[in-house]
């Protein structure tokens, strides 16, 4: 099978791409019309990332791409050849929940739990971006993630708690882990 290379057009058949998923190099075959979330769920069998609306409106499919939160349902897998994808499966560290995961438990920040992976990945992206000054900013910056159970008060309480503790060790994804991710090294 052909590997995707620049300036080499491909047809509608599968082409090989490489994704660094949670620090692990994964080669998969995808047709150009496969969305990133379908590649994650159906080709990599990683079911933590959810599909809610499939239109970029609900945020359930949020992952970090090269460290930035994005909707994986409205981007094509072929666009991310060589990119670093972080999913909910890569958030805990050696069996230890990330402080944001723990905060979701402590604040009872879910009911059905379907939107939770997207909420947590979006919250991690928000912490990395560093644009939030106050709780209003945080609510605005989380508006791309819907919760049909309307657990918003608890979700935002969990994220705000971690936002206020983000200079403590281990709250942001550690620099070491980020460096590993950026270098394509194995994190787990």
């Amino acid at each position: 099978m052909n590997k995707l290379t620049r300036d080499t057009p491909v047809g509608t058949e599968p082409v090989e791409i490489t994704l660094f998923v949670n620090g692990e190099e994964r080669r998969i075959a995808v047709e150009p019309d496969v969305t990133l979330v379908d590649a994650i769920r159906d080709r990599l069998d990683m079911l933590g990332t959810k599909v809610g609306c499939a239109h970029g409106q609900c945020g359930a499919c949020t992952v970090l791409i090269n460290g930035e939160r994005r909707y994986s349902c409205i981007t094509l897998a072929v666009m991310h050849d060589g990119h670093h994808i972080q999913t909910i499966e890569g958030v805990e560290d050696n069996g230890q929940l990330h402080p944001l995961q723990q905060a979701f438990i402590d604040h009872d920040a879910f009911q059905c739990g379907f939107c939770t992976p997207g909420q947590i990945m979006s919250g991690l992206g928000l912490l990395r971006e560093g644009h939030v000054q106050n709780e209003d900013d945080m609510r605005e910056e989380m508006s791309g993630n819907l919760c049909r159970c309307a657990a918003y008060q608890h979700i935002t309480a969990a994220i705000w708690e971690v936002h206020e503790r983000q200079d403590e060790p281990g709250v942001r994804l550690s620099e070491q882990r980020e460096e590993l991710l950026a270098a394509g090294g194995r994190v787990r």
Partner: protein, 328 residues
């Protein structure tokens, strides 16, 4: 999704040559609009040209204080850029008023300008739509049209342009830089977008094989006293019912120069030139503001569900001018 071929273009020359070779192909940048429309079947291109490898991400403040923004710069990168925040707040505000953080991280500036209308009929291929399938009809004219245009409509199409950023750029008199096999050109933003007329499928003056490379904002005294105001159905992550971008320069208490542009009301950002004219040289007193409000909606044509936009636009203009008065 309809299957399609794909290439990652290595440079601008190859991107443009694929566009010529592959009939019906589209450039692909952030993909937030196109991929959504592909999954819905509203767009069915045979081939996509991914331009993300092109070196078009720089945001550069020029020596003359004009700002050049590469077409592939993300909406987030522009909205949070120090030169934009300090010199062109209306641009930052208008970008941050649109979409969600995830979309803004992915979406490019060039793609923001070219995003497709949110008209329900355009986006659902089970309906007729003159924009998607020329000659098939416009169900919005007699159908669900609360979100639709009140200015510049035609018998063929009453869709609105959905971008907030374009409204901000319109108030700043931005220019669009493009490149094609015929060379480079710069297009004033007001000339860039087309009204629907008889060809609603043609939304800009871009040629088939022409690529947006940058957006340029001229150095202007307007930059600092500027503001974006948006009315929508929920307070975040919703398209505008009506929005207004404004920028002003005062001389004493009088308006020396002013720009007002409205969003959510037309097929393009809608400059409120008559309202601007009524304000020049005058202090922002209530009587003057009332005249500007009436001028802003002169010529509006409403449909069954969107008459509310006339009132909303007047109130947005008044609120914008009240904000300006506090800055005087």
């Amino acid at each position: 999704m309809n299957p399609f071929g794909y290439v990652q273009a290595g440079n601008d020359v190859s991107a443009l040559s694929y566009k010529v070779q592959q009939a019906g192909s589209l450039f692909l940048a952030g993909g937030t609009c196109i991929v959504d429309l592909l999954t819905q079947g509203a767009l069915r291109p045979p081939f996509l040209i991914d331009i993300n490898a092109l070196p078009l991400r720089a945001i550069t403040l020029q020596d003359d204080n004009s700002l050049i923004i590469g077409a592939l710069a993300s909406n987030s990168a522009v909205a949070h850029h120090p030169s934009v925040l300090s010199g062109y707040p209306v641009l930052s505000e208008s970008i941050l008023a649109g979409a969600s953080a995830q979309i803004r991280n992915a979406a490019s500036i060039g793609g923001n300008l070219l995003q497709k209308t949110r008209c329900y009929y355009y986006r659902d291929p089970s309906f007729a739509c003159n924009k998607r399938t020329p000659g098939s009809g416009c169900p919005a004219i007699t159908g669900a049209n609360r979100m639709h245009a009140i200015f510049g409509t035609s018998e063929q199409c009453i869709a609105v342009h959905p971008s907030d950023m374009a409204v901000g750029l319109s108030a700043l008199d931005a220019a669009i830089h493009t490149e094609s096999s015929r060379g480079k050109r710069q297009i004033a933003i007001d000339d860039f977008f087309l009204l629907p007329g008889d060809t609603p499928d043609r939304e800009t003056i871009l040629e088939q094989d022409e690529l947006i490379t940058a957006v340029e904002i001229p150095a202007t005294p307007f930059a600092r006293k500027s503001n974006y105001l948006k009315v929508r159905d929920r307070s975040s992550y919703a398209f505008a019912l009506v929005s207004v971008a404004g920028a002003v320069v005062f001389e004493g208490n009088s308006v020396k120069e002013i720009r007002l542009s409205a969003g959510g009301v037309a097929h393009k950002p809608w400059r409120l030139q008559e309202a601007e004219q009524t304000l020049l040289g005058r202090a922002l007193e209530e009587g003057v503001i009332a005249r500007a409000m009436e001028s802003a909606v002169a010529g509006a044509k409403t449909y069954r569900q969107n008459a509310v936009k006339v009132d909303l636009l007047k109130r947005c203009v008044r609120l914008m001018l009240h904000r300006f008065r506090e800055m005087a």
